[in-house]
Amino acid sequence: MAVELDVFVGNTTLIDEDVYQLWLDGYSAGDAVAIRIKRGILEQTGASPDVLESDTMDHYRTFQMLERLLHSPPKLINQLLFQTPPSMQSMLIEKYYTFDEPFVREVLGKKLSKGTKKDLDDVSAKTGITLKSCRRQFDNFKRVFKVVEEMKGPLVENIQQNFLLSDQLAGDYAAVVFFANNRFETGKRKLQYLTFEDFALCAEQLIQNWTLGAVDSNVDDMDVDLDREFLQDLKDLKVLITDKDLLDQHKSLVCTALRGKVSIFNEMETNFKNLSRALINIAAKLIHTKDVRDLFIDLVEKYIEPCKSDHWTSSDVGAFLTQYTNAARALDAFKHQALWERYMCTVKSCILKMYHD
């Protein structure tokens, strides 16, 4: 006797979150059955393997039918085919769009192109995430990117409206989109210690402060591109290192303020000019797209690593950057206060987030 056909359809669509996760993780129905058995479901319920198989198949079919709708979440909540409670709908969407940390670290900042997609088997091999799951996550990135790329208005809100994600997840997607659009380098060995969360916060800062939307939300441009004019202007900050007087003045102001307050005062004093030069050189170079891409590697190489080798603590870094930023205000000859603030506040937040082991 062989089962030719076996379906179960509920008026309210029956969804098992565990099976959904297995499906999202890219396991085949057969693997999912094996995993469920390993988890001891047969003992818990007294069911037989064929019952479990039938149940798993039903769920997999349902998920396959749902997938088309999940590609456009507003469709999912307005469709008539599957009657599901709103809480279940949001769970389905949220989990479908949730991505894995190891995966996103591999893809973050890369162009979301066919080429990258072809390399996903490498990513899969490296991360241990199934290729199927990698593809889903990659396609999600690409889908969100394509939808919001040309949209006006705040990036996070656009994502939320079009994909009905939670604040947190929408923010993460904003970071992914922003990084993909600006092609920030995140994969170098020196950046490996950074988590996606670090980058997400940096992205948030950059979006808030360095894009066109940051200046004027009504402007006909988007959150995804950096403000070219601002980047252009950044070279004006060079005066802080090229003008010897300004540099000395700046240094003495910072040293006065920090004397006795930080443990690494001496190291700071000796290194001040190097650090200041590093930060301002990064700013000045940002007009070149290539250097924008290297922003994070530059921050690590030029600023974070020297500090680390001198054993600065995180609070030392915070105190220094705060004083370094504030002191420039007292420099009468320095005329680019607004520009300075816009640049330094963001860089400070990024560095502080990135300054860990």
Binding site: M1, D55, R61
Partner: protein
Amino acid sequence: MGEDADRGGVSSVGVAACIQRPGSYSFLFCGPWRLVQPCRQSTGPRATMPGKLKARIVAGRHLPVMDRASDLTDAFVEVKFGNTTFKTDVYHKSLNPQWNSEWFKFEVDDEDLQDEPLQITVLDHDTYSANDAIGKVYIDIDPLLSNEAAASLSGWFPIYDTIHGIRGEINVMVKVDLFNDLNRFRQSSCGVKFFCTTSIPKCYKAVTIHGFVEELVVNEDPEYQWIDRIRTPRASNEARQRLISLMSGELQRKIGLKVLEMGGNAVVGYLQCFDLEGESGLVVRAIGTACTLDKLSNAATSFLPPCSSPSKDLKEVPFSEDPNPVTHSSGPSTPLKNQTYSFSPSKSYSRQSSSSDTDLSLTPKTGMGSGSGGKDGGPLKALYRQQTQSAFEHREFPFFTLTTFPPGFLVHVGGVVSARSVKLLDRIHNPDEPETRDAWWAEIRQEIKSHGKALGCHAVVGYSESTSICEEVCILSASGTAAVLNPKMLQDCSMEGCSEHRLSRQPSFFSTGSEKGEFDFFLQCQDSASLLGLDDASSLGCSFCHIPYDELNMPFPAHLTYCYVCRKQKVPDVLFTTIEPPLEAAITGKGCLIQARLCRQKKKTQGEANATAISNLLPFMEYELHTQLMNKLKLRGMNALFGLRIQIAVGENMLMGLASATGLYVTALPAPGGIQVAGKTPSDSSYDQHIANIQKKINDLIVKNREIYEINPPEILDELLGSPIPETRQRSRLFRSHSESSDDVPELDLSHGKKDAFVLEIDDTDAVEDIQSLLTDASTPSGFYSCNTEVMPGINNWTSDLQMFTSVRVFRLNNVTSLTSQGLNKTFSDVCENLLKTLYFKLRSMVPCCLCHVNFNVALPEDELIQVAVTAVALTFDKDQTPYIKVGTDKTLSRASAENEEQLQFTLELCMESQATQSTALFSPAKAADISESGHLQAVSPAIQTDRCSSWIEFIKQKAQTIRRGSIKTIASLDKASPLAEAHARHRSPISCATSTVTVVEMTPLSFIPGAKIIKYLGIINMFFIRETTSLREEGGVSGFLHAFIAEVFAMVRAHVAALGGNAVVSYIMKQCVFMENPNKNQAQCLINVSGDAVNFVKESDVEYASTQAQGSGLQAGNGSGDIVA
């Protein structure tokens, strides 16, 4: 017959209103329809334009991409009704078109309204080639024809294509304006309400239960017409869908006419089925129970002086909420015109001659006319005798499709009666004269009737009919429960029904079903019982068990004891019925689903030989099924079966039998004895040991089952109990017959001849296997109960959590011929058991829960295939039950009284309100449409408020609101503001904020929704779909294909209900699921037929709220009819 001229007249109207269509297109889509035109014949004089149907196409969404180049679609919509077609503009380059069309108006007669569906076709405009069809929506207009229901519907409907499934959605609004002209001779039966529910629907009371109505129509199946060879599968499927839609519309209309002639206004327990006879045609047949129903809010009418004139002006009584004034126009003056119908040569009437002689007296013998005369006053008697009698003559078959009755209605239950007949199908040469099919059914019904009579019963309740077809062989089956009904009630009823004076006789009505009504009938049932001299047995809940037949002249050998409750009357030791356990029945413990399963091989033969082979097998199958049922019942320590349904499926080389029922321990019946195993007479010690082991197993199982089902009957005097292994014989209430066995052939002895039924003799291998299978039937896992009745007696605290589901499985048997009959049985049994196990596993999160109304359907679609389909609902209940009460009677009574208390209050409130409303209603008639709309919104929203609140879909809600508000604006127009109407407006505003685009629609096979009150019935849902694929693998194989299709069917049912303003379907049933595959060609096809009653319910937690609403809607319905009359 003047038809042509008539049709010409109609079509000229059509042409005038029709917008010209491109020729190529009209060939494509109209071609097939023309073929089915013959079935739209009509006769007799007709109203020229009694109604106006208006439709508006608002918008579409989620349309498929039809133009690959642009990834967009240029969609437009065709709206077709009858021969008239309108088109919207083309909305270019959008997947979410906003047509916002004008109102398309169709001027039609009401007959068409009943028969025809509104057909909406969405197309993609193509400048150079033929326009591509995206899909269709068929909307059944019938629910809009009842005065009390919604006069409009609006909502999102899935756009359905028989090849691609659902392709986007379309927002449609439909309105019907009926101009009632009641004096005209009627071909239509607009306004007769249809209910699938097999009890008196909630919020109605039965004034009269008139009796059995049946009808069938026949046509050629478009799939088998010559044209099918040249048309596309899509065209063929659509032709079929439309034909069946037309045929069921016609069938319903004809049944409606019969109901009107009987003086009724509703059909309850309406069951419509299709027989796909292949080459020989397509039969649509229906049975039901004609009733006169009153809306419960009518209770107020009793406070008013009775309507003085017995004439037909009842509708002018402004406070009358009789939804169906037309009822009264169909009095004796209406000629019986059925003879002129094209398809049904009016069976019941033409047969009157034969049936009105001696045999008719199966209807209550107490005398119809004469008995009632005394009570009702002389002059009236003379006036209405004629009608009364004709009402009884309709009871050629005193059958009732109801399974639940008003207390006091069902006096005694005799047992199950069933009849089967094997027929050879031949081509139906003239669809206009389906006499053969009629005659076949008449034959079977006669047999059922005589079986009932043999059991000393004058009526058959819980009656149903079914067929199983394989190639040219067809098994027709009918079954029911022989019963004695309260003659007084029956007779009063019919008298009442014919009498226009029923208002004055209000106090003696029985009402039922509704919570509000329960109070009434509870008193009444005692009252009527005492009138009948039935002492107080009915209140003890045992009277229905008392034997109706003569003790000294029993129709079969039976062992009678005195009733274990009243100790006065005789009862049998087991009772089989097809009905629900009566509400007042005393039940001990809980019950469970019991199934008997059987497979029988037969030779592959043709024609007569085949039919004979099947006929010869049938009695043995019935016998074995019966034995299995009996053994399994004993094994569970129970003594009665309810809801028994025996299905026999016929295949090429197999017959399958599946009997399902709910086993219960009825307190009034004696405790069942055990099962004794007996071995071969010459035996050795090891064999004896083996026997003893089996015996021990059986005994242990019985003890265990009694624990599981909490069967602890009250202590009974020893002399009544008898010995532990009773010498009682098995008594069968099961009657069967088939056409080959004429009446004078002695009945097959189902009482197991001389053998002691409770002794299983292990004298051959078969018996060993039988016992093995008996013992291996898996018990339900803990936390689960299951039954095939509506609910499980003994569980009262249901929560509102419910999950309706359908599960379908197809198994392939390898080498059927090599299997032994036992092996086959075991395979089939395993199939069913496994299916149940899967259900328990899937629904484990709902524990504690009960699978209710578990309905199995078996079929043998192909040589080695077995198809099993199950539809059921899982209901959860609170674990913390009130301490278990041992005797069911107490429970029932306490439940009833508790309900009475709260309902009494409710009733009083209602009466006061409705009195108040009457005055306002008279002065401020608001438009019916407005009212139903607002009522609907209010009713739906509480559910929505709780079910759908999610912050992140706020913006979509907003959009939805604007759409909804728009729709209200167009419909709603208060003529005058009454205080009540203002109250409504106040209620409405906060609620509409909570609406979302998708209404949650519950579906359940039960007639009620736990934890909720049904406040309105919105019409019958009867839908038929075909789905076909030529890319089976790509759609996920057979399972993927059917999974999607069933989900689509559910979605379409929900959408229609939501558009009617409902939020649930009750008495939902999947009547047919015919699946065919051809994996080699990568093809599959499936036909599904579902039905149910669309309703509007409110959760009991919002009952305060609901009570104001119920009044509101009651008032509004009244206003509505007043408005139309004016």
